[in-house]
C-alpha cells in the first residue's frame, strides 16, 4: 500500500468507522448477522448431527432436540468396529509438519535473496515461482506416479512430503519475500560489517523481526498440505493414507452413517479450523501472497 495508507491506519482503527452512529447501520448490521448465520449453519448443523444417534440424524423433518450422544465419534475412532482413523491422522500430521519444515528451510534463504539482497532479475525469479503454481497438478501426476511405482516409493509418506513442499514453496517464497522486505536493510548491513555469516543473519537478525510473517507462512503451508487430496489419493494406499483419503471412504456412505460422517468431517477439519481462527488476519495477508495488508 502507499505510505499514506500506512500512516492513516492507526487513526482509522481507533476512531474505527467512517460512518458511525447512523440509524441505517443497525439494519445492515442485522443483515450481516443473518449472512453470518446462513454461512455458518451447515457447520453448526454438522456439529449437532455428529452428536446425534444415527436414527435421529437421518430424519425429515430434522430433529433439533434429539438426545446427544458420542456414538458418532466412537464409531469414527473405530472403537465401535471399522477401521481406525488414527494412522491416517498421524500420516497427515507427519506429512504436513515435515513438508512445512522443508518449505521453511528452502524458502527462507530464497526469500532473503529476493528481498534483502536482491539478485539481478529478481522479479523474473519471483514470477517463475508463481508460474509453477499455475502448472496444473495433473500435468505431472502420471510421471510422478510411474516414478514412484518403479522406485518402490508408492504408498510412502515421504513422497507426499516432497510433493507438498513443491506445492507450497512458490506461495511461501512470495509471502516471505513480502514479509522479509519489512526488515530494515541497515540492521543486516550492520550485522554483515560485524562479520556475521548468512545462517547467523537469518536466524539471529531476520527471523526474529519477520517471525509473525514466518508463522503465517507456516500455517498456510500446513493447511494446504493437510487439505490435499489428489496426490494423496493417487500415490498412497494402505500405509501412507492421509486423513482426506480416509474421508473419501464415506463418499458412498448410505443412510445410517450420517452422524459418523459428520464426526469424521469435523475431527479432520479441526486442526485447520483452530489454526485459521487463531490467525485470521495473517491468513488474509498470506493467502493474497502478501499483496494485501
Amino acid at each position: 500500500m502507499t505510505a499514506t495508507a500506512v500512516q492513516a491506519r492507526p487513526s482509522t482503527t481507533q476512531s474505527a468507522d467512517p460512518t458511525p452512529r447512523r440509524p441505517k447501520g443497525r439494519g445492515l448490521g442485522l443483515v450481516a448477522w443473518l449472512a453470518g448465520i446462513v454461512f455458518f449453519l451447515p457447520i453448526a448443523w454438522m456439529a449437532l448431527t455428529s452428536f446425534h444417534s444415527e436414527e435421529d440424524a437421518a430424519t425429515n423433518p430434522p430433529s433439533f432436540a434429539a438426545p446427544l450422544t458420542l456414538d458418532g465419534y466412537r464409531e469414527f475412532f473405530g472403537t465401535g468396529g471399522g477401521a481406525s482413523p488414527w494412522p491416517s491422522l498421524i500420516n497427515s500430521t507427519v506429512a504436513s509438519l515435515a513438508s512445512t519444515l522443508l518449505v521453511l528451510i528452502l524458502a527462507l534463504p530464497a526469500a532473503y535473496a529476493l528481498s534483502i539482497r536482491p539478485v539481478k532479475k529478481w522479479t523474473d525469479v519471483l514470477f517463475f515461482f508463481l508460474s509453477t503454481k499455475m502448472l496444473p497438478v495433473v500435468a505431472g501426476l502420471l510421471p510422478i506416479y510411474l516414478f514412484a511405482k518403479n522406485t518402490g516409493m508408492l504408498d510412502n509418506i515421504w513422497l507426499l512430503v516432497i510433493l507438498y513442499t513443491s506445492m507450497n514453496l512458490p506461495i511461501a517464497v512470495w509471502m516471505m519475500q513480502s514479509f522479509l522486505s519489512e526488515v530494515p536493510v541497515a540492521i543486516i548491513e550492520a550485522a554483515q560489517i560485524d562479520g556475521a555469516k548468512l545462517p547467523t543473519i537469518l536466524t539471529r537478525v531476520v527471523a526474529p523481526i519477520a517471525l509473525p510473517g514466518i508463522a503465517a507462512t507456516s500455517l498456510i503451508c500446513f493447511i494446504f498440505s493437510w487439505n490435499e487430496l489428489l496426490f494423496a489419493r493417487v500415490l498412497t494406499g494402505v500405509v501412507a493414507e492421509t486423513a482426506p483419503v480416509f474421508l473419501t471412504g464415506f463418499i458412498t456412505s448410505q443412510g445410517l452413517f450420517l452422524a459418523k460422517v459428520c464426526a469424521a468431517s469435523l475431527v479432520v477439519s479441526l486442526p485447520v479450523l483452530a489454526a485459521g481462527f487463531a490467525a485470521q488476519d495473517k491468513l488474509v495477508q498470506g493467502l493474497s501472497l502478501g499483496a494485501v495488508k
Binding site: 499514506t4 495508507a5 492513516a8 482509522t12 467512517p18 458511525p20 450481516a32 448477522w33 449472512a35 453470518g36 454461512f39 455458518f40 449453519l41 451447515p42 457447520i43 448443523w45 437421518a58 425429515n60 423433518p61 430434522p62 528452502l106 534463504p109 530464497a110 532473503y112 535473496a113 539482497r117 536482491p118 514470477f127 517463475f128 508460474s131 503454481k133 496444473p136 497438478v137 495433473v138 500435468a139 501426476l141 502420471l142 510421471p143 513442499t165 514453496l169 512458490p170 513480502s178 522486505s181 482426506p244 464415506f250 463418499i251 468431517s265 469435523l266 479432520v268 477439519s269 479450523l273 485459521g276 481462527f277 485470521q280 495477508q285 493467502l287 493474497s288 499483496a291 494485501v292 495488508k293
Partner: protein, 313 residues
C-alpha cells in the same frame, strides 16, 4: 509492500553488482541462497511435466505395456475429437467462471457489510470465515450427505417446514450443486481479501467527497470500486488458480458423473481407471496449454499490481 520497504529492494542491484572488484564472486554469493529452492522447484515440477510431454506422443496403455508405440500427435487428435473431453473443457470453464464470479459478488457484499461497525462484528466475521476452513473433502461430504440428501438432508428438511418441494438436488442440478458448495467455501476468501482492501481506503478522501455532497452510491462507484479493482483482480486470479484445478468437490459429490467431470477429474480418470497413459498425458498437456493462456493474462495482472507498488516507492 510499504513504500519504505520496496525502495531498497529496487535500488541496490545497479551499483553493487557493477562496481565491486570481486563482482562475480559477490553475485554468486547473492544468488546462492536462491538456488536450493529453484533447483527443487525445477526438479519436482518441471521434470515431470517434460516426462508428461514425452509420454503424450506414445500410444501406451499401462495394462498392455508391451504394446507401447510412438504415435506422434495421435493422442492429441483423439483427445480433441473426444466428445467427453470437450465436454469436460466446457464444464471446467462453467465451474471456474461461475464459482469465481458468484463468490466475488457475494464476497464484495459481505465485505461491505462487515466494513461497517455493528455489535458483534468480530463474531460475524469469524462465522463467515469458517466455511473456508473446513477441509475441502469434508466440506464436499457435508454438502453431499448432510445438506443435499433428498430424504434427510437439511435443505429438504427446512423446505418441509414451509411445505416446499423435496427435490433430489444432486441428480436434478449436479453442476449447480457442486458450484453452490464451492461458492460457500470460496466466498469467505473473497470477502477477506476485499475487506482488507476496504480497510486500506483513504478515509479522509471519502469524508472530503461527502462534504462536497457525494452520495453513498457515488462514493462507492467513483472512490471505493476503483480502489478495490486490484483486490478484485487478485481475488479472481487466486480463486481461478485453485478452482480450475478443483478435484475434491467433483470427485466427492458426483464422482464426475451426471456430466460434471472437469478436466482434472477426466485426466485422473483416464490414467487411474482407464490406464491410458498416452491419452491422459495429451489431455494433461492440453490443460497446461489452456492454463498458460490464462496464466499469461493472470501474471500480467499481478505484475501490474507489483509494478504499481515498486513505482510508488
Amino acid at each position: 509492500m510499504t513504500a519504505t520497504t520496496t525502495a531498497p529492494v529496487a535500488a541496490p542491484p545497479v551499483h553493487t553488482q557493477k562496481k565491486q572488484p570481486s563482482g562475480r564472486m559477490r553475485a554468486w554469493a547473492t544468488r546462492a541462497p536462491l538456488l536450493p529452492a529453484l533447483i527443487f522447484m525445477i526438479a519436482v515440477t518441471q521434470l515431470p511435466f517434460v516426462a508428461t510431454l514425452v509420454i503424450s506422443f506414445f500410444d501406451w496403455n499401462s495394462l498392455y505395456p508391451d504394446a507401447r508405440s510412438f504415435t506422434g500427435f495421435g493422442n492429441y487428435t483423439e483427445v480433441l475429437t473426444d466428445a467427453a473431453l470437450r465436454k469436460s473443457v466446457w464444464v471446467t470453464i462453467l465451474l471456474t467462471v461461475g464459482v469465481v464470479l458468484t463468490s466475488l459478488v457475494l464476497g464484495l457484499g459481505l465485505a461491505l457489510l462487515l466494513d461497517r461497525k455493528f455489535r458483534g462484528r468480530g463474531l460475524v466475521r469469524t462465522l463467515l470465515i469458517a466455511p473456508f476452513l473446513v477441509v475441502p473433502v469434508a466440506a464436499a461430504l457435508l454438502w453431499k450427505h448432510v445438506l443435499y440428501n433428498p430424504e434427510y438432508g437439511l435443505l429438504n428438511g427446512l423446505l418441509h417446514y414451509v411445505g416446499g418441494p423435496q427435490p433430489d438436488w444432486i441428480s436434478n442440478t449436479p453442476l449447480l450443486a457442486i458450484e453452490a458448495s464451492l461458492v460457500w467455501q470460496w466466498t469467505p476468501f473473497m470477502m477477506l481479501i476485499l475487506l482488507a482492501g476496504l480497510q486500506s481506503r483513504d478515509h479522509q478522501q471519502i469524508e472530503a467527497a461527502k462534504v462536497d455532497g457525494a452520495s453513498n452510491w457515488q462514493v462507492f462507484r467513483y472512490l471505493t470500486l476503483p480502489h478495490l479493482r486490484r483486490y478484485l483482480e487478485l481475488g479472481a486470479l487466486l480463486g481461478s488458480i485453485y478452482i480450475v484445478q478443483n478435484f475434491d468437490a467433483v470427485f466427492t459429490i458426483t464422482s464426475g458423473g451426471l456430466g460434471t467431470a472437469n478436466l482434472p477429474y477426466t485426466v485422473y480418470q483416464t490414467f487411474y481407471q482407464a490406464h491410458e497413459n498416452g491419452l491422459a498425458s495429451a489431455a494433461g498437456v492440453l490443460v497446461v496449454i489452456g492454463s498458460i493462456i490464462i496464466a499469461t493474462f493472470a501474471l500480467r495482472v499481478v505484475s501490474s499490481l507489483f509494478r504499481e507498488e515498486v513505482s510508488r516507492a
